[in-house]
Every structure is written in structure tokens, then in C-alpha cells.
């Protein structure tokens, strides 16, 4: 009798939930899963929600019945609880415990066990490895194996400041758009190694169902296997400072053929950029390129105008470092000089040597010294940055 009732309630709830899930945009539940892990997570989640809702409804119904029926205003007289016989007491203790143990450790516990094992199995059948590095406040991707081995780039937020400050209409992918998305082939199990350079970050794409903290100095890992081509967006979800809301994850999942083409094109592009480091640049070209680099990487703290946000983020306009000489008499860069600070960082200022290439570093330094209200006059060649790295 009771079980039948429970089954009925369960069926009704299941129907309600299924119809909710069936409404394609998933805004009442997890977004559409595109990896085996996310699909599994959705199933586990739906099942658990159903169980807990059933418990909630049954308990609530009993309580509401009591609230309605056992009222003083209705003249209901209290009925004292009788002390039960030992046998009955044991029965009434063991049965609910048994039901709960069944729910916790069998109905919920067994699927949860399999999910954990699946989630942590990053190696079996994995076909390629990528490394994701979190920094304040951008992601860096490096392909560690396969055709794409050696490809390495930084992925920055591209939403502009005006949209954030409500001076321009917000785009469709407001805060979830980047310059260089991670490109992955579909139907390929990708082992994702994760680390960070400064503080904790968490690389999360809701549709992938995987989320792992990136810990500076340690390697953590997870895996993804995207089953459907498309662009998938997520965000950092470990508080990592003032730019925490501004480091989106964008993954472009493409067919295996398109992936191969992308790898070739990207390698070509990176080789060209490397070649750029050896050529002699004019000051104007460097400053022009520097503006682009600055606004993408530096403006979040030092502001677009160079005014900074003192005391944490000093002003670059008329700043001590941005106006002092860079190179000493021996041709080497001075400690605490502009180049030193950009390459190696200090305290909250990140070290950029792993994030930007020679040309970008030379350009941004040249820009900071000859724009933003500064007119020091000198500038840095990419070749000098290259030499400084040794």
C-alpha cells in the first residue's frame, strides 16, 4: 500500500522532471551534456534530485497533515506518546535505518562510486594530452602530445571595458568570449593536466562536467571527450582575485579533419611570430602592437589610461619603473628595471615571460614608455628581450 503510493509519487515526480529536462534549453537544470562525464553527472544528479524530492514531499505531507489535523483551535486534545515495547521500538528504529542505508549507500552510493571511478580515470584510452595553466587572469594552453605538440598560446577575455561599464550594449557572449579558444578534436579522449602560476584557479566548462582546481606548483588532472562539435563556454570557479570574473574558458570542439587543419595553421602562425622576434622593428610599429597587448593583458589592473588602482596596482603614467632606464652600461637589463619587472614580476605583478612572446613583451614595454602620458623616448627590440631571457 505504502510502496504503491510511493511509486505513484515517484512516477509523477519523474514525469515532471523529465518534461522539464525535455525543454531543450535546460535552463532549469544542467546545460546540455557533451561529454560522457557530463552525461553521467546529469543522470546521477537527476536521480538524486528525484530521491531527495520524494523524501521531502513524503515528510512534508505527513507534517502538513499533522498541522492541519492536530490543532488546538480545532479542539484536538494531545495524545501522549506511549512508551513502546522493546520489540516495537527496535522495529521502528531498524526499518528507517535500513531504508536510509539503502538510499545512501546502495541507490545513491553505487552509481556515485562508478561516477567517481570514471571521473578519475584520466589515462585509459586517452589519445592526447594538453596542459592548462591558470594565471591571474587568463588561461594558457599547451599541447603536450600528438600532431599539435609544441603549440602553446594564451587565451584572454575579449569583452571590452565599455560593455562592462554599461557604455556599450553587451554582446551575446558577454564575459564568455576569448581571443584564442582552446581547440579540441571531437570523439577523442583528452587528458588535461592542470597547474597554475600564482594562485588557485579552477578550469570549468559546465557542459563538460569536469572541474578541477589548478594548484600552483602541483599537477592536477582531469579528462574531456567531447562528443559533439561546437563552441563551449565556461569560467574560472575558484576565487582568484579581482579578475576572477574575467577569465572565461572557451573550447572550440571541431571534427578531426578540421582539427588537423587548425594544427597546421596554428603552427604556421606561431613560427611567423617567432620569426618576428629576429627582425628589427620600428618604434611606431612596436607602440602600435604594444597598445593591443597592453589593453588585453595589463589594462585590467593598470587601467586603460595607465592610471592604475593605487596602492595595489601602481600608476604607469609617470611611474618610477616606466620612466627609469632599462639597460646598464654593460648592455644587460638592470634589476627592478621595466624589463625586469615585466619578465619576472614581483609580488602581485605576474611574471610575463611564460605568457607573452619576445615581440609582445618588447611591444608592450615600448608602448608603456611612449604612450599613456609617458614620453621617455627609448624602446626595446624583441631581440633584446630574447637576449634577456638567457
Amino acid at each position: 500500500m505504502l510502496m504503491q503510493g510511493l511509486k505513484k509519487i515517484g512516477a509523477v515526480l519523474l514525469l515532471a522532471l523529465v518534461s522539464m529536462v525535455a525543454h531543450a534549453d535546460y535552463s532549469w537544470n544542467f546545460p546540455e551534456p557533451v561529454t560522457p562525464m557530463a552525461l553521467d553527472t546529469l543522470h546521477v544528479h537527476n536521480k538524486f534530485m528525484l530521491i531527495t524530492m520524494a523524501i521531502f514531499v513524503v515528510v512534508l505531507a505527513i507534517m502538513i497533515y499533522s498541522i492541519v489535523a492536530h490543532r488546538k483551535s480545532k479542539g484536538f486534545k494531545p495524545v501522549a506518546d506511549k512508551v513502546p515495547s522493546t520489540a516495537i521500538e527496535i522495529f521502528w528504529t531498524l526499518i528507517p535505518f535500513a531504508i536510509l542505508l539503502l538510499i545512501d549507500f546502495v541507490i545513491m552510493g553505487i552509481p556515485a562510486y562508478h561516477s567517481v571511478i570514471m571521473m578519475e580515470d584520466t589515462r585509459n584510452g586517452s589519445e592526447m594530452v594538453i596542459k592548462v595553466t591558470g594565471s591571474q587572469w587568463r588561461w594558457q594552453y599547451e599541447y603536450m602530445s600528438g600532431d599539435a605538440e609544441g603549440i602553446k598560446f594564451v587565451s584572454n577575455l575579449t569583452t571590452n571595458n565599455k560593455q562592462m561599464h554599461n557604455e556599450e550594449e553587451k554582446g551575446q557572449n558577454y564575459l564568455l568570449e576569448v581571443d584564442n579558444p582552446l581547440v579540441l578534436p571531437v570523439d577523442t579522449k583528452v587528458r588535461v593536466l592542470m597547474t597554475a602560476t600564482d594562485v588557485l584557479h579552477n578550469w570549468w566548462v559546465p557542459q563538460f562536467g569536469s572541474s578541477r582546481v589548478a594548484v600552483p606548483g602541483f599537477i592536477r588532472e582531469t579528462w574531456v571527450q567531447v562528443t559533439k562539435p561546437g563552441v563551449y563556454r565556461g569560467q574560472c570557479k575558484e576565487l582568484c582575485g579581482k579578475g576572477h570574473g574575467y577569465m572565461p574558458v572557451v573550447v572550440n570542439a571541431v571534427s578531426k579533419e578540421e582539427y588537423k587543419a587548425w594544427v597546421l595553421a596554428k603552427k604556421d602562425e606561431l613560427a611567423k611570430a617567432d620569426a618576428g622576434a629576429d627582425k628589427e622593428w620600428t618604434k611606431e610599429d612596436l607602440v602600435a602592437k604594444g597598445k593591443e597587448v597592453y589593453e588585453k593583458n595589463c589594462a585590467v589592473c593598470h587601467q586603460v589610461t595607465g592610471a592604475g588602482l593605487p596602492p595595489a596596482f601602481p600608476a604607469l603614467t609617470g611611474g618610477k619603473i616606466t620612466t627609469a632606464p632599462i639597460f646598464g652600461a654593460d648592455g644587460k637589463y638592470l634589476p627592478d628595471s621595466h624589463l625586469d619587472r615585466v619578465l619576472n614580476g614581483k609580488n602581485i605583478m605576474p611574471a610575463w615571460k611564460a605568457l607573452l612572446n619576445d615581440t609582445e613583451i618588447a611591444a608592450v614595454i615600448s608602448y608603456e614608455r611612449n604612450a599613456l602620458g609617458n614620453s621617455v623616448g627609448d624602446f626595446v627590440q624583441p631581440s633584446q628581450v630574447k637576449a634577456a631571457r638567457q
Binding site: 492536530h70 588557485l200 594548484v215 563556454r233
Partner: protein, 530 residues
């Protein structure tokens, strides 16, 4: 439980007046009143901070504050609500009610009691002072790491982190002192004949809480001290470059942090059944079962901490252990829920404000508990973790399960403490406003979390806009409703219908044998429990 009536005489009631009365008092009722007042003030301060947050999140874009200030508000909001609003409220009730309930003249260690309270205002100042200093160009504001202090972000942070570390030290000392006092009082000053298993349930809840505090606060103090030395004295406890590990901090922090949840809830679980039996006019069901459940929860609470960071990269056996042990908490909690509902079952219920808050509390805390059970699942937790789903979950446990429980206690005992009845009509209005706006604030946050909105972000993508707007509007209704609460309390303290000794028709226990308000010194002769 029957008691012998004791004649009261109040010849010891002379004490300094004015400010000196409050600074030097060793009287448990005075100190209890100060704790409760402090808690109410800080509840409003913490509430204002979060309304600032909700205003910023009303729509996408940055409108009111920069992201750094946003991060400061969320962290300080949490620290204030946990350490300066909820914990002092529970300690305030302990001070007021434990001596009355166990038939003692006062707390066992009255001077320690006074010191325990007076450590709180300085720590509240330490928490909030950096905001003011920043206005004068000193430092860059309060801690911006969230209340969890996770390194390396907290090592990187400004002086706000140091201020918060010292505030936590002071708050911790205060809590440990209060706990020692409560344990000593409960073990030594119970009325003759009151065995431990005859002690009121509220006293039991606090006894377990006190032991948990003494066990876990030193771990927190140690962890934040290690953080302090990492920041200033060149140690590398949490820095991989020096052989440390940032995740070790999370282990230490949550070894305190998870029991802390039960530290906040156990006192409430203690007096909720007392309210239920009063308004059901029938003794509480399963007193012993509830006491054993308290023990069970107390023991489990210190062995489940890592479920707060399942995504930090733990080994598989650890993940499985922490998942299953967390699920096991549902067993003792189910016992409690069963006893609460069985106490109501076939009682003769009436629904004055304390009972309304209690019934609402059971339902909403139930939602908090059940979502907690789902969160224990490691795989699904990867999605829930640090999303708004978690934010909604812990507000169901800590606002509904903590603060609304405290409010039930306030309405229940306010007539006893002040000697006046509060306005029942306003009290009920306060309940409905709070319950409805609370749900309207946090139900949308469950959906925000499922849709993929991370917590602690000052600005968000456009698909989250509608739910955030509903949540923000409701949060303001919720916040403003609490002004009514303050008004009700103030008018009740000032006057109103005279309360009888028993106050509530079905109230039983030693505190209801005393006049309302009770004399300055309650039991000059201990009552005898038969």
C-alpha cells in the same frame, strides 16, 4: 519533570549603573543580553554588506563597485554572519537560559564570561576597520579572499588579511572561553537530581557544541597563524616553491570549518524541540534518541571535512571515504527530523510566532539538508562546487537552519527575558515576510548554479540575468523585513502586555517557574529535581 518551588529574594541585585554596569558585569543575564544585542547589530551590518552585493548583481555590468571591493564584501559578510552574528546569538541564549534551565544561580566562571564577551567588539572592529583605513589611503581594504582565506591568494592579499587573521584569533579565544564556561557550568552546577540525561535538550546541544569548539578552534587558529608567518616571516607552509602545499590549508581550515556548521546548528537543534513541545502541548518525543543523535553528529562532523574541496584533486580512496562518511550524516539527522515531527504528531498545536518560525525552520532546513546529501556525491559535486547551487544550499542551512531558528528562540524567550509580550501580529508578519522573501532569494540561486554561474563573481553572462534580478529584489525585501524584527524587539523591551511566569500555556522547564523577567540572581537556593 517536577520541581520544588523556591522563594526568591534579590538582596544581591545591587550593581553599578550606566556603562560601568555593562563593562564590569559578571551576571549571566547581562552578559547574555550583550551577546544578543551585539549579534543583532552585526546581523544588520553583515546584511547591509550583502545588500551591496545583491545591488551590484541586480543586472549584468559593473554599476556600483569595483571587483576588488566586491570580493572584500563577500568575505567580510560571511565572517561577520558566522562569527559575529550566529555564534554570539547562540552564546547569548546559552548565557541567558542555561543557568535558568539547570537551576543554577549563574554561570560557573562569571569573570571569564565577561572577558569572553568583551573580546567580541574589538574583533568586529578589526574585521571592518580596513574598510575605513582604505578611505584614508592606508592599505587596500578588507580581506578579499572570501571568508575561507585560501592561500596563495591570501598570502598575496593586503593588510586586510592580517586584520582578519587577528580578528579570527580573538573570536576563537572568545569562543573557547565561552565553551569552557558552559562545560564547567553543565558539569558542576546542575540542580540536585538533574542527571545528565535529565538535562534540557538545549543544554545537551550546547555541551556537544562546546566540545566541538574546543577541539576545532585551535586548528583554525593554527592554520591562520601559519598563514600569517607565510605572509610575513618567510615560512612556506602553503607555498609549493618552498616545499609546502596550498591544499594543506584547506584540510586544516575545513577540519574546523565543517564542525563549525554543527557548532552553529546544534544549539538550535537543542531548543527547537523545546519550542515544539510547548506549542504541541505534549512532551518532546525521543529525548534520548535526540541526545544520541547529537553525539553521532558531533563525532561524524570531525571526520568529513574534505567534502568541501572534492575538486581540489584528492586520491580516489579519499574521495570515496569522504563521500560515504558525508552521506552517513543523514542517519542521525533523520532521527532528529523523525523526533521533531513525532513531537508535533497528535499534539494540540497552536501557531504563535515561535511555532511558525519552528515549522518553517523544519521545512527549510530540510531543503538545506537534502541538498547537502546530493552535494556529497563527488561526481555531481564537480558541477555544484563553487557554483550558486552551493550558495543556495548553505544559506538554507545557515540562514534558514541557523538564523530563522535563532529567531524562533528570540520570540520564544523574549517575554521571559523582558517580562513583556511582543506584538503577535507583527511577529507573524515578520515570519511570513522572512520566509517568503528568503525562498524567493535563494530558490533562483539553485537554478543559477545548475545553469553554471560560479559564485564570487562581480559580473555575469547575460543568460543569468533574470534569476539574479529576482534574487536581488527578494534579498532587499528580506533585508528590510529584518527592520521589523528590530522594531518588534525594541517595543517589547520598552513595554507591552505583562508576561506571566509560564508565558506559554504548554511551557515546561525550570526557566518557566521563575517570574518574567527573572530576578537579577535567579536561584538563590537550588531547586530539587525529582
Amino acid at each position: 519533570m517536577s520541581t520544588t518551588t523556591v522563594a526568591h529574594h534579590d538582596e544581591h541585585a545591587d550593581h553599578p549603573t550606566g556603562i560601568m554596569r555593562w563593562l564590569t558585569t559578571t551576571n549571566h543575564k547581562d552578559i547574555g543580553t550583550m551577546y544578543l544585542t551585539f549579534s543583532l547589530i552585526m546581523f544588520l551590518v553583515g546584511g547591509c554588506m550583502i545588500l551591496g552585493i545583491r545591488a551590484e548583481l541586480f543586472e549584468p555590468g559593473l554599476q556600483l563597485m569595483n571587483p576588488d571591493f566586491f570580493n572584500q564584501l563577500i568575505g567580510v559578510h560571511a565572517l561577520i554572519m558566522i562569527f559575529a552574528a550566529l555564534m554570539p546569538a547562540a552564546t547569548g541564549f546559552a548565557n541567558w537560559m542555561i543557568p535558568l534551565q539547570i537551576g543554577a544561580p549563574d554561570m560557573a566562571l562569571p569573570r571569564l564570561n565577561n572577558w569572553g564577551f568583551w573580546l567580541l567588539p574589538p574583533s568586529a572592529i578589526l574585521l571592518t576597520l580596513p574598510f575605513t583605513l582604505a578611505l584614508f589611503g592606508i592599505g587596500d581594504g578588507a580581506l578579499a579572499t572570501g571568508w575561507t582565506f585560501y592561500p596563495p591568494l591570501s598570502v598575496q592579499g593586503g593588510i586586510g588579511v592580517d586584520f582578519a587573521i587577528f580578528a579570527v584569533h580573538l573570536l576563537g579565544i572568545s569562543s573557547v572561553l565561552g565553551s569552557i564556561n558552559i562545560i564547567v557550568t553543565l558539569f558542576n552546577m546542575r540542580a540536585p537530581g538533574m542527571t545528565l540525561m535529565k538535562m534540557p535538550l538545549f543544554a545537551w546541544g550546547w555541551l556537544i557544541t562546546a566540545f566541538l569548539l574546543i577541539a576545532t578552534i585551535p586548528v583554525l587558529a593554527g592554520a591562520v597563524t601559519m598563514l600569517l608567518t607565510d605572509r610575513h616571516f618567510g615560512t612556506h607552509f602553503f607555498d609549493a616553491a618552498g616545499g609546502g602545499d596550498p591544499i594543506m590549508f584547506q584540510h586544516l581550515f575545513w577540519f574546523f570549518g565543517h564542525p563549525e556548521v554543527y557548532i552553529l546548528l546544534l544549539p538550535v537543534w537543542g531548543f527547537i524541540p523545546q519550542i515544539l513541545q510547548t506549542f504541541s502541548r505534549k512532551p518532546m518525543y525521543g529525548y534520548k534518541a535526540q541526545v544520541y543523535a547529537f553525539w553521532g553528529i558531533g563525532a561524524l562532523s570531525v571526520v568529513v571535512w574534505a567534502h568541501h574541496f572534492f575538486t581540489a584533486g584528492l586520491p580516489v580512496p579519499a574521495l570515496l571515504y569522504f563521500m560515504y562518511s558525508t552521506m552517513a550524516i543523514s542517519l542521525p539527522l533523520a532521527v532528529l527530523f523523525f523526533c521533531w515531527i513525532k513531537t508535533m504528531w497528535k499534539g494540540s498545536m497552536s501557531f504563535e510566532t515561535p511555532m511558525l518560525f519552528t515549522v518553517g525552520w523544519i521545512i527549510l532546513f530540510g531543503i538545506g539538508g537534502l541538498t547537502g546529501l546530493v552535494l556529497a556525491d563527488v561526481a555531481a559535486d564537480a558541477q555544484y562546487h563553487n557554483s550558486y547551487f552551493v550558495v543556495a544550499h548553505f544559506h538554507y542551512t545557515l540562514f534558514a537552519g541557523g538564523i530563522m531558528g535563532i529567531m524562533a528562540g528570540v520570540y520564544y524567550w523574549l517575554p521571559k527575558m523582558t517580562g513583556h509580550m511582543y506584538s503577535e501580529k507583527l511577529g507573524k508578519t515578520h515570519f511570513w515576510l522572512t520566509a517568503i522573501s528568503f525562498n524567493m532569494t535563494f530558490i533562483p540561486q539553485f537554478f543559477l548554479g545548475l545553469a553554471g554561474m560560479p559564485r564570487r563573481i562581480p559580473d555575469y553572462a547575460l543568460q543569468f540575468a533574470e534569476f539574479n534580478m529576482i534574487s536581488s529584489i527578494s534579498a532587499f525585501v528580506l533585508g528590510l523585513s529584518q527592520l521589523l524584527f528590530v522594531y518588534i524587539i525594541i517595543t517589547c523591551v520598552r513595554g507591552g502586555k505583562k508576561a506571566t511566569d509560564q508565558v506559554w500555556e504548554g511551557a515546561e522547564g525550570l526557566e518557566w517557574t521563575l517570574p518574567s523577567p527573572p530576578p537579577y540572581h535567579s536561584f538563590t537556593e537550588q531547586p530539587v529535581i525529582k
